[in-house]
């Protein structure tokens, strides 16, 4: 599936919920299903700055695709990063670079997109894209 298709799938899933409680409960579920980063990669280098909770992200190439694993010590943050990993992992770096993130808005998590928000969603997206840029250069 393309990033766009996955994003639409996520939007579909979230559209089933009527209120914030259900959305957050689903996010917590997603957080628990996050492909976890291996302990050896939980280093300060892989820590995303600007989050009140700790977020580690690791990226590696599988053929011409980039695979992300991650973890966080806060479960809601883990849910947010799980959504991002689902949308961007197993994709070509160039597609990750080109992808937009408006789906975050559409699933009712717009409040988390504010750059001052302590969970650092913006920092997370930036970090995933930075990895894509780095690996794109390597692929060339």
């Amino acid at each position: 599936m393309t990033i766009k298709e996955i994003q639409e799938e996520i939007i579909d899933e979230f559209s089933m919920f009527d209120d914030w409680m259900q959305r957050y409960e689903y996010m917590i579920e997603l957080g628990k299903s996050l492909p976890l980063i291996e302990e050896q990669y939980k280093t300060d280098d892989n820590l995303i700055k600007g989050c009140q909770s700790k977020v580690w992200v690791h990226a590696e190439l599988d053929g011409d695709k980039l695979v992300f694993t991650a973890d966080s010590d806060a479960i809601i943050t883990k849910g947010i990063i799980a959504i991002l990993v689902r949308a961007f992992s197993n994709q070509k770096p160039q597609d990750i670079i080109d992808a937009d993130v408006e789906f975050i808005d559409e699933i009712g998590l717009k409040e988390h997109l504010s750059p001052t928000r302590a969970n650092g969603l913006v920092s997370m997206i930036k970090q995933l894209k930075l990895y894509a840029v780095a690996y794109q250069t390597q692929l060339k």
Binding site: W20, M21, Y24, E25, I28, Q52, S53, K54, D73, A74, I75, I76, T77, A118, N119
Partner: protein, 408 residues
């Protein structure tokens, strides 16, 4: 039932913001240790200033300037009376506690030499650690830490042992913003003076709850931020004993702080203007005075008595939640409850209760060394004011319980 002589519902009507909704729920504001809300009386003082007599002060001969100067200096006198300060020129208007501390830390550069010691308590806010570290880097002085115990109280025996003729300065908050501990500042000040050291007490967190009598305390410096006691942001005060303020060099150069300027030499203005370079936050200073008037009209004894009961009630109710642990259980504490639920990150709790209209703080509360001490990433902090109610405490407990059920 909480016993009080205060009419809390009438008081709540003074605060327009308390009428608003957050995420479709009535706001429950429990982040008073970060900043307190502003009563209409203070908002009116701000509006009145800009509508009637906005002018630059201390220079103009015109009526507006005279009126603004009078109001600003009247506010200084209100602060003087409130804190029982000997002279109004010992009250320096600053942008707040952080600037007040930096003013003193910068000024002390010329008084310290290599090997001198500065004592700072283990429960300080970052703003009360970093300026002293910078001062030590400039002078070669050594920063030593007064330890605390698991209850969040300073270990006073260790403090007395740390004091020596090398100690030049002691810094401590009156009340810890992260734990709510009321520190024994009388003992700290007296012992420091016996050792020949000066003392700065950071009153930022205490001032909304305790009316400090600075002459009786005999403290050398005391700092306050107006926005933590019903005033606006961006204004606060530094109290300094006259003898110290005369010795300290000016902090910043500029207008207002000079007596005479030639290109060869400048002579500085008398106190307090020596430390008030540039056009000050005139409106803020006046509103600070209005905030003191407001709080005194309610009365600090009644405020303290009510807040103590509220915190006691909240402590009992929160502790009834299984797995909830309170950090900071000092015998003397005020208005702050810092807690975690086992297995849950404080950020997650903060996010869920915000959805319920409840404002609490999560994180390290600018006091990372305290979090390191307890080996936790942070806490959820509920902090109370006299306008909070028992019903709001119940909503907090309900919200935290709901968050716990969702998260675990």
């Amino acid at each position: 039932m909480i016993e009080t002589t205060l009419d809390i519902q009438a008081i709540r009507k003074d605060f327009p913001i308390l009428q608003r909704e957050v995420n479709g729920k009535p706001l429950v504001y429990l982040d008073n240790a970060a900043t307190s809300q502003t009563p209409q009386q203070v908002i009116d003082a701000i509006v009145d200033y800009y509508q009637r007599y906005n002018a630059n002060i201390h220079r103009g001969v015109h009526t507006l300037s005279q009126e603004a100067t009078d109001a600003y200096e009247a506010a200084r006198q209100k602060i003087q009376r409130h804190f029982n300060i000997a002279h109004s020129h010992e009250v320096i208007f600053t942008s707040g506690t952080t600037q007040s501390i930096n003013l003193v830390a910068t000024g002390f550069t010329s008084f310290l030499k290599e090997g001198d010691e500065i004592l700072v308590s283990a429960m300080e806010h970052h703003s009360n650690i970093v300026p002293w570290q910078m001062l030590c880097e400039r002078t070669g002085a050594i920063l030593k830490v007064i330890p605390m115990n698991l209850e969040g109280e300073l270990v006073m025996e260790e403090y007395h042992k740390l004091l020596s003729d090398k100690t030049k300065l002691v810094f401590c908050n009156h009340v810890s913003n992260a734990l709510g501990t009321i520190n024994p500042i009388e003992e700290i000040i007296e012992a420091a003076h016996k050792a020949g050291a000066a003392v700065l007490i950071d009153g930022a967190q205490a001032a909304a709850h305790i009316k400090a009598d600075l002459q009786t305390l005999d403290v050398d410096f005391y700092t306050v931020s107006a926005h933590k006691m019903c005033g606006p942001t961006g204004v606060g005060m530094l109290y300094g004993k006259e003898e110290w303020l005369k010795k300290l060099p000016p902090y910043q150069g500029g207008g207002e702080m000079i007596a005479e300027v030639t290109f060869e030499k400048t002579t500085y203005a008398d106190l307090p203007h020596k430390f008030e370079a540039g056009t000050p936050n005139i409106c803020g200073g006046i509103a600070f005075g209005a905030a003191l008037d407001y709080m005194n009209s309610i009365g600090f004894d009644a405020i303290a008595q009510y807040e103590d009961e509220l915190v006691q009630y909240a402590t009992e109710q929160l502790l009834a939640i299984e797995g909830l642990k309170i950090y900071g259980t000092a015998a003397h504490k005020t208005s702050v409850i810092s807690f975690n639920i086992e297995g849950v990150h404080p950020y997650d709790i903060g996010t869920i209760v915000d959805k319920l209209g409840i404002a609490v703080r999560t994180g390290h509360h600018c006091a990372q060394p305290i979090m390191d001490f307890y080996r936790i990433p942070g806490t959820v902090r509920a902090s109370f004011s006299f306008y909070n109610t028992k019903e709001e405490v119940d909503k907090l407990v309900e919200g935290v319980t709901r968050a716990k059920n969702m998260l675990l």
